[in-house]
Symmetry: C2
Subunit: 450 residues, 2 copies
């Protein structure tokens, strides 16, 4: 049998991140301030170091990765590319299935790829403390780990429903020395206001972002860090796709279709953008962002300027959105419960250069279990969105007889999600369809931009 894993040397860890902006047919729509005018760097300086602000607006194709960041990456990178021989056999498909496994990071997901450089640049800028939010806990634990590595204090506002459902993600952050509060908390104006309006508010990513941004903006020693959505975050994640391209070379193969989960967009951007460079150069290749039907920003949202958070503290980004006050249903893929999406992913989708599809919750768990039984690894519910879409395509290949090469990003393991597997087995999970009226209503609440 041919190889199962395609490994790279530490010297193969990319020396540069890939910036998709350089290969986009149109420049990205600018971020706007509350006055509806494009913001300058000064608008972001209270919460981000200048090096990250420069990356946020850069049009350079290649951005060098600082050596201390590559050094820290070496704890878990390069991550393996697997050929899913056992899954192929279980499905009886002629398709070849590959997956990149980012669960090898100590925090268990791809999020560490950006928490490390964010911690590094903040430390270099003399910042002592980071405030951030977390939904499912993957981002918060990644930031806690990176903060520990670069000597920064970390404060995490964790969406309350996750704080309650996933206490072990909290323990993990604390093991790495971070301070964790359930959001909405009494620590910020945004949190106190939300609790005053509804003491039982179980939180949302948008609200937790408001708390963390407020915390960072109110202290000179503190910056904010975001785990997805922003251009520099997607940039950092391109180590995934860049490594994967080298690994496909080793495998003597190349994907026909790429699937990645899509919430804020960094998972998809990280895996797919380096391949987009080939597509922009004429290669025939389909890039598919997979989202939950319960939170269908790309497939059913509005392409419009909107806030990134509930309290309207962030700049306006042009993106697919369900409305900044959207409260997603309590699905178990907490990392995909975001009202908006990356501006870059949104623009590429709007220009029909990438595709998007939505998968219902039960289908994702069904796919996750099938994958775990074939390949051993128990996937995070977020990752199972890509698995479900990939399995569907592999089964279409079985019908058509096409031996397509399929690739998906296995962005994390499900070791902290076993409670949701339990509920799945007990028949307690359900599918959510996002109601049409809610989509219409969101349109009316979008900020008015000239």
């Amino acid at each position: 049998m041919s190889q199962t894993k395609f490994l790279l040397d530490e010297s193969d860890i990319p020396t540069h991140w890939y910036n998709v902006v350089a290969d986009m047919p149109n420049p990205p729509a600018p971020a706007l301030g509350p006055d509806g005018k494009p913001i300058g760097p000064e608008a972001l300086m209270p919460i981000f170091p200048m090096s990250l602000i420069e990356q946020e607006v850069s049009a350079e194709r290649w951005i060098p990765i600082p050596e201390p960041v590559r050094e820290a990456y070496r704890l878990y990178r390069p991550s393996p590319l697997f050929r899913a021989h056992r899954l192929e056999a279980a499905l009886g498909t002629p398709a070849k299935i590959y997956y990149k496994y980012e669960g090898v990071s100590p925090a268990g997901s791809h999020k560490v790829n950006t928490s490390i450089p964010q911690a590094y640049y903040n430390q270099q800028a003399g910042i002592k403390r980071i405030a951030t939010e977390t939904g499912a806990g993957q981002w918060g634990s990644s930031m806690a780990l990176a903060g520990q590595m670069f000597g920064l204090e970390v404060r995490v506002y964790m969406v309350k429903i996750s704080y309650q459902q996933k206490p072990y993600r909290r323990s993990m952050m604390q093991t790495w020395g971070a301070e964790v509060f359930a959001s909405p908390s009494m620590e910020t104006n945004a949190g106190r206001a939300a609790l005053a309006a509804d003491p039982n508010n179980s939180g949302s990513l948008g609200l937790a972002i408001s708390e963390a941004v407020e915390d960072a903006a109110s202290r000179a020693d503190t910056n904010y860090a975001l785990g997805s959505v922003l251009n520099h975050v997607l940039l950092h994640q391109t180590v995934i796709g860049l490594e994967a391209k080298k690994q496909f070379e080793k495998a003597g193969d190349y994907p026909d279709m790429i699937f990645a989960p899509c919430g804020g967009g960094s998972n998809f951007g990280g895996a797919a953008f380096p391949f987009f460079a080939d597509k922009a150069a004429g290669k025939n290749l389909r890039l598919v962002a997979v989202e939950p039907t319960s939170c269908p920003s790309l497939t059913r949202g509005h392409y419009a300027y909107d806030f990134g958070d509930t309290a309207k503290l962030t700049p306006l980004l042009k993106m697919y959105t369900l409305g900044h006050d959207f409260m997603p249903p309590g699905i178990h893929a907490g990392g995909l419960r975001y009202h908006g999406n990356s501006a870059l992913v949104s623009q590429l989708h709007h220009e029909k250069l990438i595709e998007a599809l939505a998968v219902p919750q039960l289908a994702t768990f069904q796919a996750g279990v099938a994958f775990a039984r074939a390949e051993g690894i128990i996937p995070a519910p977020e990752s199972s969105h890509a698995i479900a879409a990939c399995i569907d395509e592999a089964l279409r290949c079985k019908e058509s007889g096409e031996p397509k090469t399929l690739f998906f990003n296995l962005s994390g393991h499900g070791h902290f999600d076993m409670g949701s597997y339990d509920r799945y087995f007990a028949g307690e999970l359900e599918d959510f369809a996002y109601p049409e009226e809610a989509i219409k209503a969101a349109l009316e609440r979008l900020p008015q931009v000239a």
Copy 2:
């Protein structure tokens, strides 16, 4: 900075397991039946396939690894050897610290190294179902995974206190299709008797073994599988040390001291035995088995024939034991809560060819947290025993200025042990010293062997 990880190719997965018996100065003490006479293979045939029984008594130095087993190993092997640069820096030690990381297996520990061949040989022998026990859950999940890979049903008797403390280990086994019962259960005579005597019995590894052995012995389609202690289990685990030796060659280094956790002995045997071959050939090298002070079989137990389980269903093994009816305190390193030890490890210890030391619980958590903050990976509490001993030695090197090369087996991650980290941070954990009277009392209850 020099390399962080030393990786091998899939072709470097060992082709043979190493049998330490071939290099022991004296033949192993035989297992005895209830009559006090050495048992023949027929005594084990009701619960083990002949291929494993042959391995149990083999004196051959090298035992070939069947190709389907190597194929299955490829899902996660070869495992990485890490140089702990960050831990060294944090300790300020001149020692060089290396660790082999077995937490890369899908079940999160080294246990899969033996569950895979055990499942394979049983499937080859026409067995349809495996009954086994689990303490902390690492073995049970490893057996569940391997059963799924080779098409066997798996029934797991899980020590009740772990079943309650670690529900997500249960979910993991169920995700891989296994059936899990809290032990003592109403499914067996041994379980029913224990519950009749004490309905609140929270279980022990010895009792769960009794249940699984009884289950296997009573059904023709079912065999038993054990996750440690037995010679064939230690044999399978030698893939750890064999790979590590190749990796040390790549690193241009060789350990002065090796540390591994020791409960039933397979963790230690797997990491240390392949190096013992060099020691037997004259190499100067110290091999250190690390156990909990609360369950100190090697450091304070009796070297005598004893049963492997509470209900006295197993043959008698000559080993360091605290008495087969020993009920260990509820420490969080559930995988080390066993009254006895491997006969091979015991004999080597008795002949002073290896060393043993005991570490109290709080020191292991302190070491585990220090390791997690330096190296990122959150260790299983069992693994933290080896870390604690290794850090102590590294600090001695700091005092003496000796640049020793230290190696430990990081046998698993702690993703399913975050509850015990929580309790550690909350100051709720304590140290247990095993009382001297209990050790004396155990002596009187040991079986009488001529």
